[in-house]
């Protein structure tokens, strides 16, 4: 039996024209966080950080419909290389989700890679191939189920 953990996770990346230090520091700077942690529909974001391993942060996104609180704790702080924190919001599972931000500089740019895992940190995730396969398979069924539910 294959015991590899195929947990779902989200990976996004972007190359940005800035140094790894500048980019890394923005993740721990309340003024910067208040700017880039403001999704569409958010009037303003207020931020509190205690930037040390074990320290907590709070990012409150204030919207017309109310305030969405995001909380977490720093697990790893390795300046200009790697930042790991827990992520807790009404949209993610309790304390269980974990975000890793990695920085890789090359030719005047820095690639920032965000990995968001929905499982507890002690359940290491290797890859997510199996998970996406089953989703593709099942999404079609769900679309049918919804379609039939909508007509009743």
């Amino acid at each position: 039996m294959n015991d590899v953990q195929n947990a779902p996770k989200v990976v996004v990346r972007r190359e940005i024209r800035a140094t790894a230090e500048e980019l890394f520091d923005a993740w721990l700077d309340p003024a910067s966080l208040a700017v880039f942690m403001r999704p569409g529909g958010t009037e303003r974001t207020t931020v509190k950080v205690d930037p040390r391993v074990g320290g907590a942060f709070e990012i409150h996104m204030h919207m017309e419909s109310g305030t969405v609180p995001h909380k977490g704790r720093y697990l790893e702080i390795d300046r200009a290389r790697r930042l790991v924190f827990t992520w807790n919001s009404p949209y993610a599972g309790d304390n269980d989700s974990r975000v890793t931000v990695e920085f890789r500089s090359a030719r005047g740019k820095t690639e920032v890679v965000i990995t968001h895992e929905g499982l507890p940190a002690d359940q290491q995730v290797s890859h997510n191939g199996g998970w996406s396969d089953i989703l593709v398979l099942l999404e079609a069924n769900y679309a049918e189920m919804r379609a039939s539910a909508a007509t009743t």
């Binding site: 195929n6 989200v10 923005a26 599972g93 968001h116 929905g118």
Partner: protein
């Protein structure tokens, strides 16, 4: 995006983290099946298959209907769609945050250069 019961999302993520359980779901996505029929497809004991099925039931992914002496299993894909929505939501969320971070860097780099004359 909808509000999820966090404990259920965790149960779903845990349930699909195993290849045997994913195979059981794939089997049931084709047709309902008796527990014994599902077990016959796998090179593991009926007892182990039953344990996997119970985890899937707890996650709300599999429903069991008792028809006489048979226990018939059927797939309920709705909780998986919740998990898929979680993934879609955060993929977009973090992608947009990185775009915003890039904008912030552009502004920071421009500001000092534009202040030669007050």
């Amino acid at each position: 995006m909808g509000e999820y019961r966090n404990d259920r999302l965790d149960a779903v993520l845990g349930a699909v983290a195993d290849s045997t359980r994913r195979a059981i779901l794939a089997r049931l996505s084709l047709a309902d099946a008796r527990v014994t029929e599902v077990a016959a497809d796998f090179p593991i004991s009926l007892n182990s298959v039953s344990k996997h099925v119970r985890m899937l039931e707890r996650a709300g992914l599999v429903r069991r209907t008792v028809q006489g002496r048979d226990h018939v299993l059927s797939l309920d894909a709705a909780p998986l769609a919740d998990a898929a929505k979680w993934i879609a939501y955060y993929r977009r969320f973090w992608d947009e945050r990185l775009k915003a971070l890039e904008q912030l860097m552009k502004q920071k780099h421009q500001r000092p250069k534009k202040r030669k004359q007050p």
